[in-house]
Symmetry: C2
Subunit: 78 residues, 2 copies
């Protein structure tokens, strides 16, 4: 069974660089990936925070929030 993962970002340059690695190299045979732009989907900031996301870009996978470098604090996206 595939695991589901969410990549949260805000369109920042650091976000785009990280997104490229995630999109290119995550094993899609094991992972269903959803990409969420929190600048466009402000209604989902709370969901990201609940998953442990403190900043973007971040990948939530297997219940773990992995912050990939630092683009922006999630507080500025609320």
């Amino acid at each position: 069974m595939k695991t589901s993962a969410k990549f949260y970002h805000a369109g920042c340059p650091v976000c785009l660089a990280a997104e490229s690695a995630v999109v290119n190299y995550l094993d899609r045979s094991k992972v269903d990936l959803e990409i969420v732009h929190l600048g466009d989907a402000k209604g989902r900031v709370a969901e990201a925070e609940k998953a442990g996301v403190k900043s973007v870009p971040a990948l939530v996978i297997d219940g773990q929030a992995l912050h990939l470098n630092f683009g922006a604090d999630i507080a500025v996206l609320r």
Copy 2:
């Protein structure tokens, strides 16, 4: 052609959690992954720093250093 990637860590709890995600979900059909424990391989700290690694755990892929959460500053590993 596969790209090569290096996952640098230092055995810290944050490192192990990130390593689990990297090992489980990186697409090995596209990536040759090497895992480097900088506590055991101090001679490779300079190589990691040259690749842009500021802290561990970090994944260097396509010439990009992706810091995955924060376990330890690379300075303490020199």
